[in-house]
Symmetry: C2
Subunit: 230 residues, 2 copies
Amino acid sequence: MHESGNGGRRSETLGDEVFGHILDLIYNCELEPGMVVNESALAGRFGVSRGPIREAIRRLQGIQLVSREPFMRARVVSLSKQAIAELFQMREALEGYACRLAATQMPAADIDGLIADLEAARGGLLPSGERFDFHERVVRASGNSRIIDTLCGDLYHLLRIYRRISGAVPERHELAFTEHWQISRAIKARDATLAESLMRSHVERAGRHVLEQVPEAPAAGADGEEKKAS
Amino acid sequence: MHESGNGGRRSETLGDEVFGHILDLIYNCELEPGMVVNESALAGRFGVSRGPIREAIRRLQGIQLVSREPFMRARVVSLSKQAIAELFQMREALEGYACRLAATQMPAADIDGLIADLEAARGGLLPSGERFDFHERVVRASGNSRIIDTLCGDLYHLLRIYRRISGAVPERHELAFTEHWQISRAIKARDATLAESLMRSHVERAGRHVLEQVPEAPAAGADGEEKKAS
DNA sequence: AGCCTTATAATTGTCAACACTTTTGGGGAT
DNA sequence: ATCCCCAAAAGTGTTGACAATTATAAGGCT
């Protein structure tokens, strides 16, 4: 995690630290979508001035995790169904292409390692603490650092908020494994077009699944959601 | 342009204004790639405090237009050849997908309008002042606001720096027109797969062309480039 | 009662000063 | 002469106060 424990001896900026803290708050749902992000309140809470808080919030606004409008109070974004759909479309485009690149460039040894880890993670566990993220592995294998940063950075944060919704559906895990396995085979066969196509289908399916789970009224903050951040 | 003229009566934040100003400085090559972006100097130059300058710089860092490292001085990014290649790859993925979406969703009337403008822009001129940007038109027709923002925002700024290099090669214009026209026909025929494929090829070709024009030593600032900003 | 106007409070934007880090330049030892 | 160490300078990070703006609540009018 983002070093919530404020050890405070590293050469990291306060703004960077606060950025991670607020990110954690959002992940923990202490800052739910739609809630206002109050600079002074957070400053008091973290025991720092408003300056670093502002920088952190601006960074969050940069990756579209909180809204931005000059003198209006910032709010954690509350994605509408359409926004989620668009998010998955973008992921489909980028992750599909990354998968294509991986199919042509990934070293054979890495492919075998990926498949091995995939099957190991299926049975039950990997070496303790290690969490297996198939998508991240594939994306990083693309070798395109700009695509990697976009997918594993900006988009990942946004998706993570809505991941919890569809997280605990066991039947989906088996399907996901099958699809991951097929993608791996396509990569191993160096069939770039098939690999991209499979990854697109897989992401599109995951997106549809998330959209089914997501509740009705998504954005537009005119309802009772008027809570403030402590 | 970003209201360089500092009229200063709008309800825009100083940080927003400075952001546009610095962007213009980068476009005008007053801040060339590799040069340091000095907060105090810019603050004095624009007649504001360092606060708004910091915000603007942080925003530029967010879209990767200037480097970022805690206490190190910020520098305008100087893209290596590989970074440019990665940029075009990402554009290939995103713009190809946007083209696919446009092929299925774009209203027929808009398609005809696009083709008309394309042919009008070829002959010589459009209504005065109107500049025709085929790619932007297609991207916006995708209807996916996240992809639109990424392509027309972040990536556009980066590409613009290196656009000047390959801008004035007349023979390329005719080829570009042909490719644009083919893409338009595919969209009109509602052939999403073909439209995406053509757009990918087109972007890939453009990328190769830019890479040919770009000089040898790109990044890594160990050479004489040690200029400072005013 | 309901709605518009007005005063108050809460919040964000801006500034100038201070603290910390890196860079730069000079002096002494090997 | 080269290298290392140290002090001064430049630059970034942080802070608290002040200004500008928006949200909130009270009061008067229809």
